[in-house]
Symmetry: C2
Subunit: 428 residues, 2 copies
């Protein structure tokens, strides 16, 4: 062990998470010393506007020039919580090249440039840790890389976006329509002013790229992940889900099947008996299946000032311990495979198709026949007469490749008896 008594850190960003990290570092000062033998000191903070008054923050720490931090030889850890690709990427790479370990909560960056960041960390013998980038405060990256390292992981499936889970919970429990639930989420601060990245599944897609890379030891980037959001889900879809003893969740799916990696985000029906179905409100969870451990699930808060700061601080303490023992970089990139990512059209899923059809003899036969020509097998049919002459038909299917289903839907629409395909939802 070294004789170091203080470790100095530079903080990039002082938004919600940055403030949480700053406060937590203060609150936990003595504890960190007892745990690691050294004192953690925030030596400088990069912000846009150094003039802005920030309560409880020593103004002398603030700088708007990142090189005050990357160029400071006394700083050995950089904590990046500013978000976005640039300038975060440039600053992190410079910091690593200056021999500093980096802890980040930046999913956008890791999901796209993870390989380069890991590579630069390895070249410079520093730590690069990002527990906070996936599912906020929930321990998932370290468990995958260490605790479950003796497993061949086949599935990592998560509710990894709190905004959409809050919206879907309100729709399910309070019978709201999507817009009403979104409005409530915005009002309560669960949704941002521009909720696009959340409700379109993009935020979840970034996390799935990181999860897949970590679980399957092969690099998956954000562009590899097929994403669909929850904007088309209606209160009526939710009512049918209840009828089928299921809930609808926005699931991030990372699977290994047929020697390929499947990476996608869609809203899906999931049986209410599945542990993921019980994850309510803005909570997140990641469900993992490994060949040795079987099923395991990690549940908690996927965002927020202190939950995210908790994950960041866990990483920082790890860096401190590694520095004390001279072993930074001890766990780096574990993507030692190059497994192809499956074309989204080749992924097999079960589907529920809700459609408005003419209510007369022979209609189901026509529809079933059309589906059969596209290799779609029916597992379940529910028909409800809406008004004289018209019926609502919900068809559940067996597993079928996405592109067969897309073709089938195209041809179904052409049938005279089909007035409208109202919704198509996958089943987990």
């Amino acid at each position: 062990m070294t004789e170091r008594k203080i470790i100095k850190a530079g903080l990039l960003g002082l938004g919600t998470v940055g403030t949480g990290v700053y406060k937590l570092a203060k609150r936990q000062k003595e504890e960190i010393e007892k745990k690691t033998g050294v004192s953690l000191q925030i030596e400088g903070i990069l912000v846009h506007n150094i003039e802005k008054k920030r309560e409880g923050v020593d103004p002398s720490l603030l700088t708007d020039n990142y090189r005050d931090l990357t160029g400071n030889e006394e700083i050995s850890v950089i904590i990046e919580v500013m978000g976005g690709i640039e300038p975060a990427k440039t600053i992190i790479l410079e910091a690593m090249r200056a021999g500093k370990s980096v802890v980040t909560a930046n999913k956008d960056l890791v999901a796209v440039h993870g390989a380069q960041l890991y590579e630069t960390a390895a070249e410079n013998g520093v730590d690069f840790l990002f527990e906070a980038a996936v599912a906020g405060g929930i321990p998932i990256i370290r468990p995958l890389k260490q605790c479950l390292a003796g497993n061949e992981i086949s599935d990592a499936v998560g509710i990894v976006n709190g905004t959409t889970n809050y919206i879907l919970t309100r729709m399910f429990e309070d019978n709201m329509e999507f817009q009403e639930a979104l409005d409530q989420a915005t009002e309560l601060g669960y949704a941002e002013a521009d909720p696009t990245a959340d409700i379109q599944g993009l935020d979840a897609g970034r996390k799935i790229a990181i999860l897949a890379s970590t679980a399957f030891h092969s690099r998956v980037v954000f562009d590899d992940v097929y994403t669909e959001g929850i904007t088309k889900i209606t209160a009526r879809d939710i009512r049918y889900a209840k009828e089928f003893d299921s809930v609808i969740k926005l699931l991030g799916i990372a699977r290994q099947r047929d020697g390929q990696i499947e990476a996608a985000v869609y809203p899906m029906l999931i049986s209410k008996d599945h542990p993921l179905a019980t994850v309510r409100d803005s909570f997140n969870a990641v469900f993992v299946h490994g060949d040795a451990v079987d099923d395991v699930m990690f549940y908690g808060r996927g965002a927020g000032e202190f939950p995210t700061a908790s994950a960041v601080m866990g990483d920082v303490i790890d860096v401190i311990r590694n520095m004390q023992y001279g072993c930074t970089g001890r766990i780096g990139c574990t993507c030692y495979r190059t497994t192809p990512v499956k074309n989204p059209g080749d992924i097999k899923n079960k589907f529920f198709i809700r459609m408005q059809v003419v209510n007369k003899p022979g209609v189901l036969a026509a529809i079933a026949g059309e589906l059969a020509t596209h290799k779609v097998s029916i597992s379940k049919v529910v028909q409800k007469v809406i008004k004289s002459g018209m019926a609502e038909l919900v068809i559940g299917t067996e597993e079928v490749k996405e592109y067969h289903m897309a073709d089938a839907l195209n041809d179904l629409k052409k049938l005279d008896v089909v007035h409208e395909i109202s919704s198509v939802i996958r089943e987990y």
Copy 2:
């Protein structure tokens, strides 16, 4: 990094878990090499009977003399999965003194001698890891020591015994009585021939001692944990639990309250909306509350050949990585506090008391009065007439210290109108 190419391990025990570890080490051989840069080789296995035929195991590895392993200078890791206090303790201490890191799944040992084992590990600069000792395959020790290290943990509450959770699930879902559910658990291999340690809560108590020590940074041993089992729970209790929208679970409770540690195991009513309530069959889960991370839960298989081997192998891979970087012992004992363990009688709980009483005016007043003299406030009363002149009364209480409740129950029994106290169950 060192130039080591092979790391040799000695395995103590070849029962269910030992066999799992042996098979997993074989199955994961190439993967471990890719992850760590070295090859893990099981160099010898301690067994009782070296003559016994064991399919798939190289007989030349077997020995009945542990010093063949602890005295072998080529072996740098000892994996202890034999269980029990002795001779495991003696062998582990000898191994550590010989400079070998130790991975164990032995809850009995860690719950009693954890401090001494950690101390010896520190003196010899080796790793001492026991992820498998609590909740089998579920990552919980490493998340507490690393991922959540930036938190002040206030609660670690777990369903940490699969046998009793299976029994309670059958009682709840199939309306079985305790004995019938136990018989089924035995038949299916979920309960051992002698199920005492499970159904009396002793096994859970050991895990709670380890969890409390890890979460609260203060040593808690098995003797500090108050334990009650599930043998008195009846199908009738379960029916009332359902009426109160709750389930009954055997909960291991580790809490920090009033500057003291509470450590206990009891069957408790828990609201069906709580994440722990959804943990069915032989699954385990540990629910943690930290001041930064808020609520977080870890769910999975708490026992079994491969789930437990998964946790052991995660630890072994960590040891290998530490050896590669020359940093074994990097995370040792974190019990830097000496927080007193609360007397079980001083723990505050809510209770449900089910009793058979005379059905006449004034009975409830008499009972409520008796409770009030013992500082017990009533939150809920349900009365059912069983037969003419007799009623079954279920009283829910507010939080009250255990010893006040014990006194109250003693005095209630003396009341003429109370025929029988049928059950007393705490509420989480």
